[in-house]
Amino acid sequence: MLDVENLDLAYGDSRALNGVSLSVAAGTITSVVGGNGAGKTSLIRACAGMVPAQGGRIRFDGTDITGWAPHRICDLGLGQVAEGRQIFPSLPVLDNLELGAALPRARKAAKQSLEKVFALFPRLAERKAQRAGTLSGGEQQMLAIGRCLMGLPRLIMFDEPSLGLAPAVVKEMFAIIEGLHRDGMTVLLVEQNVVHSLKIAHHAVLLENGVAAMAGTGADLLADDRVRQAYLGL
């Protein structure tokens, strides 16, 4: 569904991605793991059109989206729950959600989408009039996910959704992602929590210094000595 081919990306002189290829099949969970600065966020941002790639192709559902503007890519149904949540702190929770449905593809369904999001995250309904910046970290992450769902995505790229959250909330976050997948969502997942994210992944890629160093099933990577030593401390 999302196909990345030989992607090169650099910020000025410093290269962040070197010929990275990756395929996310419809209806699966694909995990990308790798240390800090490996290029995981750059990969997601390139797919979202937020940073230009220097080489390679990105296709979403057969459409070549290389070089497209972010708003056009979003409108095809490629959604993102970004690193650092990226909510609108000074706007009320309700406005944050409403803006998620500002995309042409999602506008008509905004009302039903809001009901669904509130059913999924009752806490957001309770706090809908509150400024988003006053929410707890976990609630902000739920808002980021809810806001993304408002845009009716067909594939969601999650960038470290559990970062900085308490252990109980981390578990909740994984349950939410698995729930979305069970309901048919295609997922690209970037996580610090390597064990958990490989356990739920159908397909996984290890990114090292901007290079896709290894690919396989989640179980393959979990069993690999290199992965175990570098990321699991075993």
């Binding site: 937020m50 972010p70 708003h71 990226q86 909510i87 609108f88 706007l91 406005d95 500002a102 995309l103």
Partner: protein, 285 residues
């Protein structure tokens, strides 16, 4: 007598508020300081004068079409000229907008000449007596129009999806990209709205003052003072700052000397910066 002046200043201040709102909105969203702000509103004064002179249109009527044209011009100016400068250093934006200001001032000089152009409406000398107050009809109508437009603008930003999207882009630009808001378009709309506000304010000021090319820099400076007093980027702050400066100018004009009114405003500015650096309604960053 003094209360009359306070009321006069308050009414003028409502027009100042609308004028400053145009500057505040553009800065608040794009972090671009429109150094051609006052010069642009002088163009609107001339437009109102020309509409009155050649088409016989009362400024209160030409207000809407002129504001609409200014919206379009602002939208196109942002798309064509300013957008490439949004992410460039401040001094480049400064040079660009100063050039626009110079072109407008000299253009006005070329087309309309250096002499003052005033509009005579037939109710120019009417006034209302309300209690013990004597209020000019022109000023009351102009202030009423300014307050209405300011109210509409605030409502637009608060309640419409586009208005909220613009506030969202100002709040978190990356976040706006993440959910697929078209930032280029939102910026162009914002510049259009800011330009329409300063245009409408210019038309209303043409009811109270003659248009002269050299008024441009004065109005730019006045708007800076108002926006800083009210709080950078705060829309209600622009309104409050406008009213405060309007009243202070009117009082300084009566109690001291008309020529001292700007000095009074600057003194107020210094005072606010000392006591409340974020401005009256601005938020501490």
């Amino acid at each position: 007598m003094i209360l009359d002046q306070v009321v006069t200043g308050l009414l003028t201040g409502l027009i100042y508020g609308l004028l400053a709102l145009g500057l505040s909105v553009i800065f608040g969203v794009m972090r671009i300081v429109n150094f051609a702000h006052g010069e642009m509103s002088v163009v609107a004064m001339y437009a109102a004068w020309a509409a009155a002179r050649y088409l016989g249109l009362d400024p209160l009527l030409s207000l809407i079409p002129i504001a609409a044209i200014f919206f379009g011009a602002g939208y196109l100016l942002q798309r064509g000229l300013i957008q490439p400068f949004v992410s460039r250093p401040d001094y480049m934006q400064f040079i660009l907008l100063i050039s626009v200001a110079l072109i407008l001032t000299n253009g006005a000089l070329l087309v309309f000449g250096p002499e003052a152009r005033g509009i005579q409406v037939d109710y120019a000398f009417d006034s209302y007596e309300i209690g013990t107050f004597l209020i000019d009809k022109v000023r009351l109508l102009a202030a009423g129009a300014a307050l209405t437009l300011t109210g509409l603008l605030l409502a637009f930003f608060r309640f419409t999806l586009t208005g909220k999207a613009i506030r969202a882009a100002a709040d978190n630009r990356t976040g706006a990209q993440v959910i697929g808001l078209d930032i280029g378009k939102l910026y162009a709309v914002t510049f259009g709205i800011g330009t329409a506000s300063l245009g409408a304010a210019g038309v209303l000021m043409a009811l109270l003052n003659d248009a002269i090319p050299r008024l441009g820099p004065e109005l730019t400076l006045l708007s800076f003072v108002i926006v800083i007093v009210g709080g950078l980027g705060s829309m209600t702050g622009a309104l409050a700052g406008g009213v405060l400066i309007g009243v202070s100018e009117a009082l300084a004009g009566t109690l001291l000397q008309p020529s001292l009114k700007s000095m009074f405003s600057f003194a107020l500015l210094v005072l606010i910066l000392l006591l409340r650096p974020q401005g009256l309604l601005g938020e501490r960053s």
